[in-house]
């Protein structure tokens, strides 16, 4: 069996070095083609009519004027009358026209009548008792339930909870008209009627059962200090620079071809096939480059389906349907909010003994789950309880390290407050409790010490509020994080041609993380040839499937499948070449563009000469991940990272300036140190952005987002960027773990570290991100008033 394991450090020529990104020259010269850049022959432009209301039932849709409009080529109703829309911006009708302005004119000519329903876009703290005893159901509740669960279950709920509306025959006739199942109509006639009780809980709140472990009551009773606080992060958006969308066309009536902006090239056909009525094998997906995804681009969305349907109606002509910026921010995904009231019990020496939390948050209509709190530190005695708020802000999507940044803000904030209460340096307190971070305590200990050196923590740190000169308060904060990151399923085809050219095919995608570069590094390292001697093809369903790029799973997946393919190709080549070199295949090696007898440069063939021995036909092998038949496991899971932030806060204006950030990060074996460091730099910057600026602000009156643009949904600019120091943990103790993903981990801690630094600077916690001037001033005002 060939040795598939990663080469030892002393034998690596490319792996772990700083290698420039291979697609940079295309990107810096404008030649990189994104899905948004694709322009098909006779292409039409698609636009979507969206609901202006956060919750409404569609009563009627009149598209006749739009259909008659010159230049409009197809109209497609996306949600029929009778459907309930659950957020402002929800898709109603799609239009395809000869150009964009005409498509917009077409949209304006459509008339939709709505019945408005009561919406909620707030994620404020649920009132006491909310979600505990659901009251009788409203008409809205019944429609909602009918959208989500089986008719029999809805009927059972109605019988059990009762209803708070009088089911008139008129009402039920409307229900019938809009396809309400008969079983539910029957239940409405028999369900007990209850008047609405004052303060009865609405269906907005879903209270989960309390969880506890250890002996929380005892821990709090015996604590030397109990710290209490409020922490949280709001809903934010992904704000990908390339908006969501696609261009769909039908080369013939049975085949669909889609250029889509996606993190999931291989997975899209399976999502589109059934709705489009064609086999998945007939759906061809292509994407060269993607302008950002961050977790929001795994699906073929409703607008993509609409583009495909509009194209079909327009004789198969390509229909480009890319979202406008406002729609991107309103409907194309958001990170759930998470807030918590936390109590921490500790001993005088800093030992943390107990955790108690009441948390809440929203992920839109689906509610959402509890973030993993307490985070990283497995506190022995805990009691926690979470209430999910189901509301009408639009759907949530995975956002880089789902739930972890929120968990870090809550946990690291509560622990820092506890250290402050004990008059301890939080670095000392974190080290004191490092055993609670098992099984990564050794990694964290080492990283904390390195980070402290890089930040000059010990010389710079002062107790809370004791580093103020004039209006400027300075402070330091820290946070720890973890993530899984095991490689996903990936198939890689590697072909050696008799003329010496090498080709790799892999249905993955490069999100800007350096996937192309890393695949080429692994193949070139294994075959002993230059990276530019290999042609790499990714981003197409004609290539072997590779998993979606989410959860930091890509690097482990593609590097492992590529390594196995390259080793197998090399072994096959050795078989062919050995007789010419008078040697056994096992005695050969690939070095510096030659195939030679190990250590003997006098018995060698050039790469080209060696490949000529393949004969007339090229040789193709397939590498897979995972592959238990070809050990060892080349990828692993579970990283540790530490970050520290230094801030300056102007106590008169409330403006927070980040002055320096340090990231110390482990990700097992690093394939490309340069792109790995860039991931960390980028994550720190994205973290500064969500710590200081980002919030999807909803208006409770209208149910709409107030800042769906890039002026008021602010991203950090170059002037917001402080000194950034990134240290990757490499070498012994790290490399031998195998390759682990890096996309998520470094974006987890910045919010928590910056929040802690601000608390350290101004002497009081600013409870919620983003740390805007008004929130800072409010916290300072409370402190002064206290």
């Amino acid at each position: 069996m060939p040795d598939y394991s990663w080469p030892a450090a002393e034998n690596r020529t490319l792996i772990g070095k700083r290698i420039s990104r291979v697609d940079s020259p295309l990107k810096v010269s404008g030649r990189a083609k994104y899905s948004y850049d694709y322009h098909g022959p006779e292409m039409l432009f698609g636009k979507i009519l969206r609901s202006p209301y956060a919750k409404a039932r569609i009563i009627s849709i009149d598209t006749s004027a739009a259909e008659k409009m010159p230049g409009v080529k197809a109209v497609e109703i996306i949600q029929k009358p009778g459907t309930t829309v659950h957020w402002a911006g929800d898709e109603i009708v799609g239009v395809a026209a000869v150009d964009e302005p005409t498509a917009e004119d077409g949209i304006r000519a459509i008339e939709v009548k709505y019945q408005l329903l009561q919406h909620n876009v707030s994620d404020a703290e649920p009132p006491a008792g909310a979600g505990e005893a659901p009251g009788p159901m409203s008409e809205d509740d019944v429609w909602d339930a009918a959208d989500q669960i089986q008719p029999a279950q809805v009927a059972a709920q109605m019988a059990q909870l009762g209803v708070k509306f009088k089911a008139t025959e008129e009402m039920l006739a409307v229900w019938k008209k809009y396809d309400m199942p008969d079983e539910i109509i029957a239940a409405a006639r028999t369900a007990p009627y209850h008047e609405e009780k004052e303060g009865a809980s609405s269906s907005f709140f879903q209270k989960a059962a309390a969880q506890s472990q250890g002996e929380p009551d005892k821990a709090f009773a015996e604590a030397d200090a109990v710290s209490e606080g409020l922490y949280g992060s709001p809903v934010i958006t992904h704000c990908c620079l390339e908006t969501h969308g696609s261009t769909a066309e039908w080369p013939d009536k049975d085949h669909l071809f889609v250029h889509i902006s996606t993190q999931n090239v291989s997975g899209i056909p399976g999502q589109m096939a059934e709705p489009m009525g064609v086999p998945a094998a007939n759906v061809h997906i292509h994407q060269d480059h993607i302008g950002g995804g961050f977790g929001s681009k795994f699906a073929a969305d409703r607008w993509d389906m609409a583009a495909a349907r509009l194209s079909k109606k327009a004789d198969g002509k390509p229909v480009r349907m890319m979202l406008e910026r406002d729609s991107e921010l309103k409907v194309a995904g958001a990170r759930p909010s998470a807030y918590a009231r936390v109590k921490v019990a500790a001993k005088r020496d800093g030992t943390i003994t107990g955790w108690q939390s009441q948390s809440w948050g929203t992920g839109g209509p689906g509610g959402g789950g509890m973030p993993p709190i307490p985070y990283v530190f497995a506190i022995p005695n805990q009691r926690k309880q979470h209430t999910a708020i189901r509301n009408n802000i639009g759907p949530a999507r995975a956002w880089r390290a789902p739930n972890h940044p929120q968990a870090a803000v809550i946990t690291m904030g509560a622990l820092e407050d506890t250290a402050a209460k004990l008059n301890m340096d939080p670095l000392e307190m974190f080290l004191k409790n490092i055993e609670l971070t098992k099984p990564r305590q050794d990694i964290y200990r080492e990283e904390l010490n390195i980070a402290a050196d890089l930040m000059s923590w010990k010389s710079k740190w002062r107790p809370r509020g004791q580093n103020i000169s004039g209006n400027i308060a300075r402070g330091l904060g820290l946070s720890l994080h973890t993530w899984g990151g095991r490689g996903h399923a990936s198939d890689c085809d590697l072909t050696l041609h008799p003329d010496g050219s090498v080709e790799i095919k892999l249905g993955s995608q490069d999100l800007g993380t350096g996937t192309r570069t890393c695949i080429l590094i692994v193949a070139a390292e294994t075959l002993g040839i230059p990276m530019d001697a290999i042609t790499l093809n990714i981003g197409d369903t004609q290539y072997p499937p590779s998993g979606g790029s989410g959860g930091s799973t890509t690097i482990g997946g593609v590097s492992s499948s590529t390594r196995r393919a390259a080793v197998d190709a090399r072994e096959a080549l050795f078989e062919k070449v050995a007789p010419a070199l008078n040697a056994q295949p096992a005695d050969l090696e690939c070095v510096n563009g030659t195939v030679r007898v190990k250590g003997d440069s006098s018995r060698s063939l050039s790469w080209k000469q060696a490949c000529a021995k393949l004969g007339a036909m090229p040789l193709t092998v397939r590498g897979k991940n995972p592959d238990k038949t070809k050990p060892p496991d080349l990828t692993n899971s579970g990283v540790g990272g530490v970050q520290m932030a230094e801030v300056e806060v102007d106590t008169e204006t409330g403006v927070v300036k980040v002055k320096k950030m340090v990231a110390v990060q482990d990700c097992g074996l690093v394939i490309d140190l340069k792109t790995a460091e860039s991931q960390c730099h980028g994550a720190l910057i994205m973290g500064i952005t969500y710590a200081l600026f980002e919030e999807k602000i909803m208006d409770q009156n209208t149910g709409r987002m107030l800042n769906p643009d890039m002026e008021f949904y602010r991203l950090a600019g170059i002037s917001d960027i402080p000194e950034l120091v990134v240290h990757m943990m490499t070498g012994k103790g790290y490399d031998e773990r195998g390759v682990i993903g890096l996309g998520e981990p470094p974006v987890i801690s910045p919010g928590a570290a910056i929040s802690n630094a601000v608390a350290n600077a101004i002497g009081v916690r600013v409870p919620f991100l983003p740390l805007t001037p008004d929130r800072v001033l409010a916290a300072l005002g409370q402190k002064a008033g206290a």
Partner: protein, 206 residues
């Protein structure tokens, strides 16, 4: 870099907002006409385009193109959708992010905020023209060396803005960088690489 990219260009369409109000007030007869018309407003002859498609001549990267465009079409959409020159990206829809930065007579503009008809008679330079003889411009090379792109969607705009900024400030101070490049936004967080690219360029004095 123009000091404030959001400031309207001087000498833009030749029809100021005030003139436009006057025209709409005085010359309803001009509206149904197709093609360019000259009307008198405030005693001055003023060109009026449209409302239908009108011939538009654009000089892009040294090459002349004649297009039939509605007057409401932006320079960005004309470049991307009519000429298929796609280096400049559409991101924010209007004047907030700089991803569509191109040069008009060697001044940076947001191509989304200039009408194609107003770019006539001017030299339009896009990111595609910075490479010479198949070789990257030194600013582009610096971006490659310092890994100043990730997804790369903001990169073309940033490269154009940085090139012009460095033409004016070959040895920029950190403060000049902060002010000079604040008109471009990135989501992946490549600003660190861009700062390094500028430092590399300034050091080499390329």
């Amino acid at each position: 870099m123009q000091d404030d990219p959001k400031k309207p260009l001087e000498e833009s369409s030749g029809v100021s907002r005030r003139d436009f109000l006057k025209i709409s007030g005085i010359s309803a007869a001009a509206v149904p006409l197709i093609g360019t018309k000259v009307v008198e407003a405030a005693g001055q002859p003023i060109k009026v385009y449209g409302p239908g498609r009108v011939p538009v001549e654009l000089t892009v990267n040294g090459k002349k193109h004649t297009l039939q465009l509605e007057p409401r079409v932006t320079l960005l959409d004309a470049l991307r959708d009519n000429l298929e020159i796609t280096g400049a990206k559409r991101v924010c829809d209007r004047g907030e992010c700089g991803a569509c930065t191109v040069l008009l007579d060697n001044k940076t503009v947001y191509a989304c905020s200039v009408l194609a008809i107003d770019a006539q008679g001017k030299q339009i330079t896009t990111v595609e023209a910075l490479m010479q003889g198949g070789k990257l411009h030194p600013v582009q090379q610096a971006f490659v060396d310092t890994d100043a792109s990730q997804c790369g969607f903001c990169t073309p705009g940033f490269v154009v803005a940085t090139k012009v900024f460095l033409d004016k400030h070959p040895k920029p101070t950190p403060d000049e960088i902060r002010r000079g490049l604040s008109g471009n936004l990135c989501r992946c967080g490549t600003y660190h690489g861009i700062q390094q690219a500028i430092a590399q360029f300034a050091q080499k004095g390329a």
